[in-house]
Amino acid sequence: MNIDRRKATLFGAAAAVRLLLFTGFPGLPDLLTARVEISTPVTSFKRLQEGLYLYNHNVSPYDGGVYHQAPLLLPLFALLPSSATYPAFTYLLYIIVDLLSANALMQIADSGEAGSSKLYTSPRKDKKWSSFAIAAAFLFNPFTIATCIGRPTSVFTTCAILHAISKAVAGNSFTSMFALSFAAYLSMYPILLFPPLALLCFDRKRPMKGQESVYNFVFGNAMAVAGSMYSLLHMSSLITGSWEFLLSTYGVQLLLPDLTPNVGLWWYFFIEMFDSFRNFFLGVFWIHLSSYVAGLTIRLRRQPLFVIVTLLGIFAIFKPYPSISDTSLFLAVLPLYRHVLPLMRYTFLASSTILYATLLGPAFYYLWIYAGSGNANFFYAITLVWSLGLSVLVADALFAVLRDEWEVERPEMKGKEIRQI
């Protein structure tokens, strides 16, 4: 009851802040929509509008170089009144999506999975933040707010992923798998979350009659994902009347034809890449991105939730078209592991690096694009720093968790200087 009131006030406050920003500064939404840090070619709200316009005028939006987003978004936004005339509805939609994500996040936090999973219980698990605080940290994170105002479609992916996790910890695997496949359907990369998520479901599912083996369980879930993916894709092919959207949505993520700058590492690399090696390096980058899944899942078998957290962090760095909304997702789930934060060693360093990048990024982008006094290397350098800072953060969190596990094996090592061999 009390929790509910606090939750209500929190959500109310978050919604109020966003509404205030939307209405108080009418120029702000479009300004942020144009920022490369927020909207990427595969999530931009302006491109969505374009696709919607073409869709409403019976031009296939996928027979063009502008719209690269999932087909089901079109009918969804077609139902809404046009955001040009009645923006309020769009605003509300995005605010609600944020609140739903926060809600899912709270459920995850309440489950306590982070502190003690089925196979592992951290000695520090009592030292945790309330789900309320975690949701607040998510809702009032400037990155999240900026993302919400900028209205990229990545917020739907975020919401879907968080729901997948929350359903998984709640133990009903099918819903979780459906949410996952929806996220994957929207922006492809979440499919890489399947292994840890399936394991999470397996760990959390209620003890039923007759213990079934992991393999059957995972296989069953894989089937579920495949099934729901297929139905979604088929639905979209019915909507757009052809399968050409596959190439224009997922193809773009795979082949990176659009080199619009973003906070990631891919764009400048492939601008400067020699034509003959482009495809090779595309392969390399994708393999690199997916290489983390297996390793983490196996090594951290006992804490599948943390595998997901780490993967989210890694996606935020190494995706083809990352944006700060991915970072905000990572920063949203990181506080779940507040109990290992004291074990991290470079929090201040990493966070100040990220802060520096956050400030210098726009400055250098301005110098390059508008003032014309700087060149592309300015912004590129900042994306490097940004990625480095984030990866230090991810790796450090990973270290902390591993150390936490290790101290369970060897309690006498608490607070000792350690080394890896």
Partner: protein, 586 residues
């Protein structure tokens, strides 16, 4: 002026109507424009029967071109070379109603006969390559990204029989960046029967032509099937229009520098109180008609008439009020058009012809024909991320409204946002867009094509705006002068058979650092390797306490060093040194 234009058409059709096996007609029309400019339109036209064309029996029709057309199954061809800008506000309507001019650079459109689109593309490719060879222009750069298939803007001007009509494919391509110059003029003249040796074409000369404020060369090949006749004809029309600045052209070629005139030649306004030997307020010479002559303007006089022009039409006409003095060299007969401003001259086949108009204070001017539409297009916004295009279309006529098609063909890296397309009429949002055809761009495959049918009511202005985003290209896709920007082809405005072209635009794109490939590959890979290392180090290696680890580790390193030492000292060869060194290290 309208009657003049109509007259031009009449002339054209009159000769096209003739059923003689093949004939040739040429005419030069001179028209003074304000201020002190001269529009000279050359028109060369010849017909040949379809039969003789098929049998490759060319008389006036240029063989080189004819064979290309046959090889590429091109039924109708329109090729334009243009330079400069037609200033509609002060020069009035365009010659030939704009039908014989293209946008800046090179513009080419043709109706190719083919079964399928692919076949048409193949033949189009053949055509462009062949023509680029013929005209020394880089037409072969008209690739798929620069080719469009207009739907509403262009109609076949020739009479095609219905059998061919359904599998004709219209393809249209532009090269806004191409700079037209003498190397294009020479092959152009070669196509003429008199090859620039005699007749009006003898006046054509690169220096003058390309010093013009505006000039356009055109070639049109079209079949004519007059009704009631079984046999069709093939007509080729070549025109050159140029607007010459009298003062500039009158300067002697050996001394083109506009040095300040001597003080005494300076035309001063003596009414000014301060007017003195060293102070002068320049007189406005607008009231006075400047004197000129053909030989002054074109460098030399006209070398007789072309003997092949057998149709007895007067080869030289000038469009001035009858009150204006016009003197010609001997042997030329003047025919005045009684009502109107036109007078034509019949030339003696041999002997030079020159035309002289002296200085004259005359207020009467040949009236300018008001254009149907004023069109101006420009970029809005700044920065290299995104921008907008603004086209201001004004209908000057106080009575009748104008219905026209506005066509844009944009390169793929200019990502058009159609949902931002807005048409404001006199500053108010009203539905003026009747019909729209849009073909979005595909990255690196094809450009954007936008055709909008708009109706402007009388005496009002439509402002058409849309946003676009500037894509950033791979560093190999930039031209050597990347920071100049990319030329955007002019928009084509079609009003019935009158067409108007806006100026071209210069689009600056964000550029990467072209010296960076290796650095970028190195740095990015480093960052990726670092984080990969971070994570997998943690995953694969196990923790131990420092003191446990120390021993083992240090010894290993020592052994390594010792081994290295042995190897090095093997080279040094001082055995004694070796022993103690190893001791020292341990």
């Amino acid at each position: 002026m309208r009657q003049l234009q109509s007259l031009l058409f009449i002339l054209g059709f009159f000769f096209s109507g003739q059923t003689t096996a093949s004939d040739y007609h040429e005419q030069l029309l001179l028209r003074p424009l304000h201020p002190s400019l001269l529009l000279a339109s050359f028109n060369f036209q010849s017909n040949t029967t379809w039969a003789s064309f098929e049998q490759q029996n060319f008389r006036y029709f240029p063989r080189s071109l004819g064979q290309i057309l046959q090889h590429a199954n091109t039924r109708e061809l329109h090729l334009r070379f243009s330079l400069g800008r037609w200033d509609a506000e002060s020069w009035g309507a365009r010659p030939w109603g704009g039908a014989r001019e293209g946008g800046t650079g090179v513009e080419l459109w043709a109706w190719v006969e083919a079964e399928t689109d692919e076949e048409a593309d193949g033949r189009w490719l053949t055509l462009t390559n062949a023509l680029s060879g013929l005209f020394c222009a880089s037409l072969n750069f008209i690739d798929s990204t620069r080719t469009t298939r207009p739907v509403m803007s262009f109609q076949p001007s020739g009479g095609h029989n219905d059998s061919t009509l359904e599998n004709l494919h219209l393809l249209h391509g532009t090269l806004p960046r191409e700079v037209v110059c003498t190397e294009n003029l020479t092959p152009f003249l070669k196509l003429l029967p008199c090859k620039g040796k005699a007749g009006i074409s003898s006046l054509l000369d690169g220096h003058k032509l390309f010093d013009a404020s505006w000039q356009s060369m055109s070639i049109d090949v079209r079949p004519i099937c007059a009704e009631g006749e079984t046999e069709c004809q093939l007509q080729i029309t070549q025109t050159i229009d140029m607007v010459l600045d009298l003062q500039r052209s009158k300067r002697p070629r050996d001394n083109p520098i506009p040095r300040p005139v001597a003080n005494e030649e300076l035309k001063c306004d003596t009414s000014k109180p301060y007017n003195s030997h060293d102070t002068c307020f320049p007189l406005d010479t607008a009231a006075q008609e400047e004197g000129w002559s053909l030989s002054q303007i074109f460098g030399h006089s006209l070398k007789g008439s072309c003997p092949l022009a057998t149709d007895g039409a007067d080869p030289v006409c000038i469009n001035v009020p009858h009150a204006r003095h016009v003197f010609t060299s001997a042997g030329a007969h003047e025919h005045k058009d009684p009502n109107g401003y036109l007078r034509c001259f019949e030339l003696s086949p041999d002997g030079e012809f020159d035309l002289t108009l002296p200085d004259q204070d005359i207020t009467e001017k040949a009236p300018l024909e008001q254009p149907l539409l004023y069109a101006e297009r420009s970029f809005i916004g700044y920065g290299q991320e995104s921008g907008g295009v603004q086209a201001i279309l004004t209908n000057p006529s106080p009575t009748e409204s104008v219905d026209f098609v506005y066509m844009e063909s944009l390169p793929w890296f200019m990502k058009l946002y159609l949902h931002t397309l807005k048409a404001k009429i006199n500053g108010k949002d009203k539905p003026v867009i009747q019909e729209m055809y849009y073909r979005p761009a595909l990255d690196r495959k094809r450009g954007t094509q936008l055709e909008v049918r708009i109706l402007i009511p009388a005496n009002s202005t439509v402002v058409l705006t849309y946003d676009f985003e500037k894509a950033i290209l791979r560093y190999t896709e930039y031209p050597p002068d990347a920071n100049r920007g990319f030329d955007i082809a002019p928009a084509v405005i079609t009003i019935g058979n009158v067409s108007i072209r806006t100026t071209s635009l210069l689009l600056p794109l964000p550029t990467p650092d072209f010296s960076m490939p290796y650095n970028v590959i190195i740095l990015t890979s480093t960052v990726m390797a670092l984080s990969f290392g971070f994570v997998f180090n943690l995953l694969v290696r196990r923790f131990v306490a420092v003191d446990e680890a120390d021993q083992w580790d240090l010894r290993a390193v020592r052994l390594k060093i010792a081994a290295a030492g042995k190897r090095i000292l093997g080279r040094f060869g001082s055995g004694k040194g070796k022993v103690e060194n190893i001791k020292k290290v341990q």
